[in-house]
Every structure is written in structure tokens, then in C-alpha cells.
């Protein structure tokens, strides 16, 4: 009876140790992964900052104005003027599409008397 208890205890210790090591490795893996993700976030953030700066730099008013002048022949862009404000009813909206004919009626003049 006693030896059985010893064996059981020994097995339990081995099992617990195995489980502890297993959990430890899983934690290490998770930490490594988290670190990698964090590094990726950091890099993405840095890249985003650079892209934002570049976007702002490319869209700086001086450059846009110069581009508008250079491409005036093609685009004809001018500064916004007060007389460019219009009213909604001055806009020529496209005509509404005709309703589809779902129930056609055959009309023929073949049998007409007059």
C-alpha cells in the first residue's frame, strides 16, 4: 500500500513538472510572439509616420500650386472664386431613367378601320 502511494506521488511530481515546463515553454512562445507583434507595430507606426510626413510634404500648398500652374493646359485649375457658388436648382441633373415596361401591350394598327 505504502509503495503504491510512493509510486503515485512520484508519478504526480513528474506529471506536474512536465505540465509546468510545458506551460513555461508556451508562455515563452507567447511572449516571443507578442514581442514580434510589438516590433511590427513599432515598425508600422514608424512607416506610417514617414508616409504621413511624405503625404503632407507632397500636398504642401506651394507644390500643389506649382503643379496646378504647370498642368494648367490640361486641368485648367484656378483659385476658388465667390462667383463659383451656385444653387442646387442650377445643376443639370441627368434625367431619371425610364421605368422598365413590365407588362407590354401589343398595339398594332393592322386591324384598324380608319
Amino acid at each position: 500500500m505504502r509503495s503504491l502511494l510512493y509510486v503515485m506521488t512520484f508519478m504526480t511530481v513528474i506529471g506536474a513538472a512536465f505540465w509546468a515546463y510545458h506551460e513555461n515553454y508556451k508562455t515563452q512562445d507567447a511572449l516571443g510572439e507578442a514581442q514580434a507583434v510589438r516590433a511590427e507595430i513599432r515598425d508600422s507606426r514608424a512607416r506610417l509616420a514617414v508616409l504621413k510626413a511624405e503625404w503632407a510634404y507632397l500636398n504642401r500648398p506651394d507644390r500643389l500650386r506649382d503643379l496646378a500652374e504647370v498642368n494648367f493646359d490640361r486641368l485648367g485649375l484656378m483659385a476658388l472664386k465667390p462667383d463659383q457658388f451656385g444653387r442646387v436648382d442650377q445643376i443639370a441633373y441627368p434625367a431619371p431613367p425610364e421605368l422598365p415596361i413590365t407588362d407590354p401591350v401589343e398595339i398594332s394598327s393592322a386591324g384598324a378601320t380608319e
Binding site: R38, A49, V50, K52, A53, A56, D62, K81
Partner: protein, 595 residues
């Protein structure tokens, strides 16, 4: 353990036989036993003490070792923390009111050297000079071959330069990561941005600190990690600012002005939508301040905020407004503006020696009569005039959120005599900044409240204390509108925007004192638009402009600042989303024909 009996029979019998006292044996044995017990107890106690000592030693050793490693190791972020947002250490961006970037950070590298690791310092020095021509080769050679263990070579490198340095292949040249401040719009709103430079520098990083403008004013705030990178939203509108600067530059060039400034402000919130001062500079490469000469000649000088000028007749409307407010006059009260008028022995003259004769208060503003406003001011009196000007903030620097704002201290007369009261009523003898004037005109435009100009985006009207009644403000607004429709600012009319405003032409005072220049003027146009529902106030100031299309050079604001301001309104108002009101019929246009 076998206990020794206290009275061993053999020894007792032996002692009895010899006639000794057997109790002595018992006492002797008892003594020995006690000594043994004492020794055992002592050794056990000693053992326990030793164990305790070892335990304490280990515990303190662990604490000490941990402290040592914490102190000696590099700090790193905790790996197992589950928080979402990690600390963002970089300086917060600055964006305009629509979120467009005005200042941001860029990653770059600095270059430093460890001369003791150099393989070939002479070749390295020569190569470095070929990459960075501004370095002194002689000096570099001396530094690299000398005893120094560490030296900075460049604070910022472009990626191309970094590659070239890398290609030298010298192990003693090292790169340190750097964050630098970038102003992608260049000189746009340069005076507000100010600039930034490096503070404390280490190999791995360097502090970016603001050196001027809003960067310095909000330095702590921008660097605060608790912001978590949230950008600082300004009240400026990038597009409007660009258009305003463009128009102002054009006007300045056309009119041969030395400098120019403009302020566009929301009259209800006090938000400064655009503020420009020319000439300007690039905050990415901030020039050094002038070491000699006049600071106001430097491009760093912010004319709109730091430049205190006598703004001339633009002040007249404050005098008339106060006279109306005090009930001394109404807009139709007639005042005789004929000469002569002498105050404390000084003659008060009109522009070009004119004589307007009797004028209504309204016409005094429209025609810009010095004598008329002077007489109003004498009725008001110096005490009440001072109190009013103080209430619209003309006695203190405007608390705008840039460090330079404290430099805009108005110049007031040392003694406020009657002659000061009269000259100040038409804007001479008091020097304020264009921004002060904007705040003053905003009070007229928003119905009589002082608003404090601000550079930060606001979420609603921020009306301050009332400085005049709504009625007075309305009457003053009518007068300002008439100045444009039939007065000195006729070039200021922009169809659909009902511009109202007042011109101001002031001779520049000589720098060393002793009167005024004959042909150097400051021209100002202070305008409000649209006057039927005032939203914005625009101040345009030109420094030494001259209009030369006529036979004689013209230097009045009506010919210089007004057309520039009108063009600015024409450009800027649509950008602000203001729709021109052309079709509405106004009561003034309806003429009653039937009786």
C-alpha cells in the same frame, strides 16, 4: 541517549564508606547535567541564529542583486504586459483645424565617431569631407587621430548621406537613431510654428525641444507621453493660410512694401484662422537671430504679434463707439470739424489739410476726420478712454499661444494728457499690434464682447466680458460698412460679402525719436465680413508701401492695404465656405415711390 544517573549507586556506596557526603556527588552530577543541557541549548540557538543569518543574508543579497541589475541594465518595456497602447515617446504632431499635418517627426540618424576604433583616420577624414563639404578636414584629422574617445560629426543625416558614410567602411564611424522635427509645408505659418532643435543628446536618442513659436509655448505639453501621440489641433486653416500668404506676398511686392502682416480671426470663438507676417523663413532651417541692427528687420520678427505700430485711423471707430455707448452722441449728431482746433497748444490737422466742416458722427468715421474724433474724445475724457481701451485689451500683450506674444507689449503715452487723448482717438501716440486690433474689431463684429485670440481649435463661441452694448456694436458696424460703400475704403468692396472696415494710415516714427518720417507709412485696413452677419475680422498691415500707378506716389491705406485686403477676402471667403449673398434684396435698396 543514556542518561547518567544523578546518584550512581557505586559512587554513593563508595562515598559512604569513606565518610563523604553523597549529596556532593548528586550536586556534581546535576551541575554536569545542567552544563550539558546549557551547551546543547546554546549550540541549537547558535545553529538557529546561523540559519537566520544565512536566510537574511540571502534575502538581502537577492534584493541587492536585483537592485544592482535594475540599476546597471538598460531599461526595457515589460514584455508580458497586456496593455494595448504602448508608450509613444515621440513629440506630438501639430495639425491644422482640418487635421492636415503642420509639424511631424521623421526618423533620421546622427553620425558619431569612436576614434580609438578607427582603422585609417586620415582616409576617413578625407572621405567625410568629400561627403560633407562644410566640415574642416584639418580639424577633423586632428580630432580623429587625437586622444578623444568620442565625437559627434553630424546631428542629422539624409538617407543618401548615411549610405555614403556606410560605404566608407570605417568601423569607428557609428550611427545613432534620431528623431527630427519636420515642417512639411515649409515657410507656411512659419512664425506660428517657430522651430525645434535638439536638447540633451545621447547616442541612442535625443530630446527634441521647441525653440520658438507654439513649439516652445507648448513644449512640455507636446512632449508629454500621456498625450499618447494625440496631435495638437490648431485653429489655423492650412488652405486659407496659404491663400492669405500668397495674396499678402503679391500685395507686398506690388506695393513695394518692406513687410506685411495679416490676421484673420473668427469673431465669435477668437480662433485665428490665418496669421501671416512677411518676410518669413523656413522653420526646418531656422535662421539665426540678428546680432546687430533692428530685430524687426529679421524674417524671424512676427509683425502680426510682435510688431507694435501706430495703427492710425483704424482707432477712430473705437472712439465713436465709446461716445455712442456713453450716450454722448448718436450717429446723426453733427459735430463741427472746422479748423482751428488746438489742444494744449498743438494744432490738430486733417489728412492733406482738408476741412470737412460740420459732419455727423457717422460721416466723421466715413470721411475719417481727425478733428471730429478728437472732439468726441475730449467729450469722453481721458479716464473713460483709458478704461475702454483697457477693456478691449490694448494695454497688455495679447495672450496668444506662442512665446513671441509677450513681445507685443503696446506702447502707451507715459502721461495721458488731453493731447494724448485726442491723438489716441485717431490712433496716434498708442502703438499696438495688428492682433490687438483684430480683437478690438471682433468686439464690434460679435455684438460687443471681447474675445481672446487663440491658436487652438475651439468647440464653440468663447465670448468674453461685454465691452459695449449690442446697439452700439450694430451702429458701429453700420458705419464701418459705409466706409467701404462711400468712404475711404471703396476698393474694399467685394460683391456678395458686405465688407465693412476702416482704413488707417500712420506715419512711421523715427527710430531714434524726434518726429515722424515724411514718406514712410504704415497702412492698415481693419475689416469685418460679412457685415450682415459678421463672422470674420481681417486686418491687413503693410509696412512702407507705395502705390505708383498715379502721377504722384500714393501712400494712403485706401490705395494700398484696402485692395490687398479685398483680394484676400475674395480668395479666402469661398475657402471658408462663405457663400456670397448677391440675390438677397436689402431694405436699403428699396425705395418708397408711392406716397
Amino acid at each position: 541517549m543514556i542518561r547518567t544517573p544523578l546518584r550512581p549507586l557505586a559512587r554513593i556506596l563508595d562515598a559512604r564508606r569513606k565518610g563523604e557526603n553523597p549529596d556532593a556527588i548528586e550536586r556534581e552530577n546535576l551541575r554536569i547535567r545542567h552544563e550539558q543541557m546549557r551547551d546543547a541549548a546554546r549550540s541549537r540557538a547558535e545553529g538557529r541564529l546561523l540559519v537566520m543569518a544565512v536566510m537574511f543574508f540571502c534575502a538581502f543579497g537577492v534584493v541587492g542583486a536585483r537592485m544592482g541589475t535594475l540599476a546597471a541594465s538598460e531599461a526595457e518595456e515589460p514584455r508580458a504586459q497586456a496593455t494595448g497602447a504602448s508608450i509613444i515617446a515621440s513629440r506630438a504632431d501639430i495639425v491644422d483645424r482640418h487635421g492636415r499635418v503642420m509639424a511631424t517627426n521623421m526618423e533620421t540618424f546622427s553620425l558619431y565617431a569612436h576614434p580609438q576604433h578607427m582603422v585609417d583616420p586620415h582616409r576617413t577624414a578625407a572621405k567625410l569631407v568629400s561627403i560633407f563639404p562644410e566640415l574642416n578636414e584639418e580639424r577633423l584629422r586632428k580630432d580623429l587621430t587625437g586622444k578623444r574617445k568620442f565625437m559627434w560629426i553630424r546631428k542629422k543625416l539624409s538617407p543618401e548621406q548615411k549610405q555614403k558614410v556606410h560605404d566608407i567602411g570605417e568601423p569607428g564611424l557609428l550611427f545613432g537613431p534620431r528623431e527630427m522635427r519636420l515642417y512639411p509645408n515649409g515657410a507656411l505659418a512659419a512664425h506660428i510654428m517657430g522651430g525645434a532643435s535638439f536638447g540633451r543628446e545621447g547616442v541612442h536618442s535625443a530630446e527634441v525641444i521647441g525653440t520658438a513659436g507654439i513649439e516652445k509655448f507648448f513644449d512640455e505639453n507636446l512632449r508629454d507621453p500621456a498625450r499618447e501621440g494625440a496631435p495638437m489641433e490648431l485653429s489655423l486653416d492650412l488652405t486659407v493660410q496659404a491663400a492669405a500668404e500668397r495674396v499678402l506676398l503679391g500685395g507686398m511686392k506690388l506695393l513695394n512694401a518692406k513687410g506685411a502682416a495679416s490676421v484673420l480671426m473668427d469673431v465669435h470663438t477668437g480662433e485665428v484662422i490665418s496669421i501671416a507676417s512677411l518676410p518669413d523663413f523656413d522653420p526646418n532651417d531656422r535662421p539665426r537671430p540678428l546680432t546687430e541692427g533692428d530685430a524687426s528687420d529679421s524674417p524671424l520678427f512676427n509683425r502680426a504679434v510682435q510688431g507694435v505700430y501706430e495703427l492710425g485711423s483704424t482707432f477712430k471707430v473705437f472712439t465713436s463707439a465709446q461716445a455712442l455707448e456713453l450716450g454722448l452722441v448718436n450717429p446723426n449728431t453733427v459735430i463741427d470739424t472746422s479748423p482751428p482746433m488746438r489742444v494744449n497748444g498743438h494744432p490738430i490737422g486733417e489728412f492733406a489739410g482738408k476741412n470737412y466742416g460740420p459732419l455727423s458722427v457717422s460721416d466723421i468715421i466715413i470721411k475719417s476726420s481727425n478733428r471730429g474724433t478728437g472732439k468726441l474724445a475730449l467729450q469722453i475724457g481721458s479716464k473713460r478712454q483709458q478704461a475702454f481701451l483697457k477693456s478691449v485689451g490694448f494695454f497688455d500683450p495679447v495672450p496668444l499661444q506662442i512665446v513671441e506674444a509677450t513681445g507685443g507689449q503696446p506702447l502707451l503715452p507715459p502721461r495721458w494728457s488731453d493731447i494724448s487723448t485726442v491723438t489716441i482717438s485717431y490712433g496716434h501716440g498708442i502703438s499696438v499690434t495688428p492682433l490687438h486690433l483684430a480683437a478690438g474689431y471682433a468686439a464690434i463684429a460679435n455684438g460687443g464682447h471681447y474675445v481672446q485670440p487663440t491658436l487652438l481649435k475651439q468647440d464653440g463661441p468663447k465670448l468674453g466680458p461685454r465691452v459695449m452694448s449690442e446697439r452700439t456694436a450694430g451702429q458701429s458696424l453700420d458705419m464701418l460698412r459705409k466706409v467701404v460703400t462711400k468712404g475711404t475704403a471703396s476698393f474694399g468692396e467685394v460683391p456678395g460679402y458686405f465688407v465693412g472696415g476702416k482704413t488707417g494710415t500712420a506715419d512711421k516714427p523715427k527710430r531714434r525719436g524726434g518726429g515722424y518720417y515724411k514718406n514712410k507709412v504704415i497702412n492698415t485696413f481693419a475689416s469685418i465680413f460679412p457685415t450682415n452677419d459678421p463672422k470674420y475680422v481681417l486686418i491687413v498691415t503693410l509696412d512702407e508701401p507705395v502705390e505708383t500707378s498715379g502721377r504722384k506716389p500714393r501712400r494712403t491705406a485706401g490705395w494700398t492695404a484696402v485692395p490687398v485686403a479685398a483680394e484676400m477676402i475674395r480668395r479666402v471667403a469661398p475657402l471658408l465656405g462663405l457663400r456670397p449673398d448677391i440675390e438677397t434684396r436689402h431694405l436699403t435698396d428699396i425705395i418708397n415711390t408711392s406716397n
